[in-house]
Subunit: 439 residues, 2 copies
């Protein structure tokens, strides 16, 4: 893809595929230190040298190692909309740093050689790592392009926040998750979504005729990317313009409700549903329901399509500690600072997980026995852990047993989490067990 | 200009011309109430109706009345870079509201009918109005697209902040304003800037062969706009890419230092000089020198070209009260909260003004006897007032005699300040005289 449509990259990143950029990953063997964006000198100098420029579309800005700069600079490449924290004073999270965490050891999946937590940070090209235990920061680490005042692309963790908003509307009685999508969005009547329930969209058990065969220039993913681009359409473009128009073109393939099928377009459909029901777009609702009441430190932002619609499936960039606040709110079942920001059942439902049988059909090798509910991944492990996840290693990992929230921003060279899970999931579990023993 | 290059509009807005959009202003007779963006229902609904969409480039988003929405939503249409406030608590400005201000009367220039201050707000399509007196907010008003948590395009007020940064570097001994530009930016040696001094660039007394004849498709303004656009260049584009490349193509016409000539490209050249000298781009230096130490309420942001260079000549969007903080810092000669953020001489120099003779040659009818220094406009009136100014009615107006800072965001249908000055400058003076009597 030498001239990748600039927004394609962002859309692809919201998906769970590595193939898209395989051709660009000629430098994939650079380790974290060598590929550090400061070491690479991306975008340094006035002007940067030509080979240090990261621009769109020619430079394939989501290819590794450029990716390691881009994840902190999305707004400099694309139009975005603000997720406003308001103008009040942020309430900083309390600290109880634990130096012992660095030395925790774990055995990566498929390996017989132990690794320390500290070693896992570079192995995973970690840009930011926050661990909250009992509501206090016990571990915090910044590297690569990120620092405490910066923001990082959340990738598909955006989906989980969109799913959370939908679950809130359901529990507040404003959205019937058993309703057909058509009853809420009549424009989707003729599409695959029209015959699905809101719940099927929320849990991604819709049966969509949606191809992600990157070798096929007519594959749906390219049409989706072209529709979603906020940049002016080419003069000869005649396809759908924007997320909402694209969604109306999606056809059904099979029976809804049977199998989990991870398709970002479900989240964009859910974003439309949320907007129609609440009267707010996803960015505005995130601001009102989470960013403002949680006393966050930074505004977040979302990329938009050419009509100003936020990219509900993958467009969020946010600060590390602010996503920690969101995770902590989930762990505390919606309670924050004496207020119940959403009904307890919202978190209970998400924590309970979804349909394991439907999930198993999708064949995620690193997530055996898992499920997906309201755009959150559930591990169904002994600790009852669940997570928001995004390509290249993004996660908000919530462990109710350990009373732990772990947020990781990363720029792992490969997109798919199946590549990075082996040095991540056992590490999270080891930290959780360590913290359980601290309780 | 039915298919105006999307960034052209922004560039044009940084200039002081009304001609550019004359053809679009068929609705210019709509008053402030009728043209309120909420009343117009711009971008409302999911999706907005086709005639309520504001997109780029087809919708000419800077044409009135769409302009009245766009000035609060630049980032949703263009890539931008953050001017970070950091993550500390904002320090809110104290209040001493004075309800008497609304009833102050003044006589507009060229009129013999008095108008009240309150009437002037709608007459000027005011979006935000803040008056600080003795460091306290005595008047605050929001309308149109703006509220206290929002941001508004600063247009060419951006130039004054860029000029302030340069003046700071001069007074700190890091930038010699008598040096030739070539000695700092060798890449500009062959351009008109190469033979100018830094001071001539700062005061816009360079003699540039730069045409803003909008009827000529080969006029420099179009080439500048095309170069500055952050959007991917057309396949057949072979011109300069970005501000820095464009500046190298500007040729000289006449003798530097003789006449004031308002050309945005001077500010972009100054932004390059600032960056080379300081090692920071203008957005980063604004953050470090102003937004963070001033305990601002909101991040600001700047549009960028396709290489990430902030638009030093017109790209800033900011909150109303945060620009009030900047004005108050000027009034207090760089002192804030017990700290001297820049040498007193910085503000003294700007307040003293520039070369009146050079300024007179430019023929600004509403600014007789004025001057321009370090990208600030000086009225040389009895109160020693000076201002940052931007098209469509933007101003930071500083009156040292009245110890008053007045910030106005507006979306006046016509771009040129000569249209809006008659109901503005006498109004500012009347408020200043009222406040002087309060001292």
């Amino acid at each position: 893809m030498p001239n990748l449509n600039p927004v394609c990259a962002l859309v692809l990143l919201a998906l769970n595929f590595t193939a898209a950029f395989a051709g660009n990953q000629t430098n994939a063997t650079l380790n974290a230190e060598a590929s550090d964006p400061k070491a690479m000198q991306w975008m340094t100098g006035f002007p940067p040298l030509p080979d240090k420029l990261i621009t769109q579309p020619q430079s394939n800005y989501f290819s590794f190692p450029k990716l390691r700069w881009t994840v902190c600079h999305i707004r400099e490449l694309l139009p975005t909309t603000r997720v406003s924290r308001g103008i009040g004073a942020p309430v900083h999270l309390p600290y109880a740093l634990d130096n012992g965490i660095d030395d925790i050891t774990f055995t990566p999946l498929g390996s017989d050689t132990a690794m320390t937590w500290r070693e896992s940070l570079a192995a995973n090209y970690t840009d930011g790592l926050l661990i909250l235990h009992n509501g206090r920061i016990v571990y915090e680490h910044y590297s690569g392009c990120l620092d405490e005042t910066g923001k990082h692309a959340a990738m598909s963790m955006t989906k989980s926040l969109t799913g959370l908003l939908a679950e809130i509307l359901v529990e507040e009685g404003k959205l019937d998750d058993q309703a057909n999508v058509t009853s809420i969005i009549p424009e989707l009547a003729e599409s695959a979504f029209g015959s699905a329930t809101v719940r099927q969209v929320m849990d991604m058990t819709t049966a969509l005729d949606y191809s992600e065969n990157y070798a096929d220039p007519n594959a749906d993913i390219w049409q989706y990317s072209a529709a979603a681009s906020p940049l002016p359409k080419p003069a000869d473009y005649s396809g759908p313009d924007g997320y909402f128009e694209y969604l109306q073109t999606v056809e059904q393939n099979g029976e809804h409700g049977v199998a989990f099928g991870y398709r970002t377009i479900n989240t964009d459909a859910l974003g439309w549903i949320i907007s129609r029901v609440s009267g707010q777009n996803v960015a505005h609702m995130l601001a009102e329901r989470l960013w403002q009441p949680l006393d966050t430190e930074q505004d977040a932002y979302m990329t938009v399509d050419g009509k100003g619609t936020p990219f509900a499936g993958g467009g969020l960039s946010a600060g590390l500690r602010d996503l920690g606040r969101v995770g902590h709110l989930m762990l505390n079942k919606g309670r924050y600072d004496g207020h119940q920001l959403f009904p307890e059942a919202v978190a209970d439902n998400i924590q309970a997980g979804g349909d394991k049988e439907a999930f198993a059909k999708a064949g995620y090798t690193t997530l055996p026995g898992g499920s997906y509910r309201s755009m959150w991944w559930n591990f169904h492990n002994a600790h009852g852990s669940y997570a928001a996840r995004g390509v290249h290693g993004q996660t908000i990992y919530i462990d109710p047993t350990a009373n732990m929230v772990l947020v990781r921003f990363a720029s792992y060279p490969k997109a798919g989490n199946s590549q990075i899970d082996p040095t991540s999931l056992p590490a999270y579990q080891a930290v959780a067990e360590y913290l359980v023993n601290m309780n």
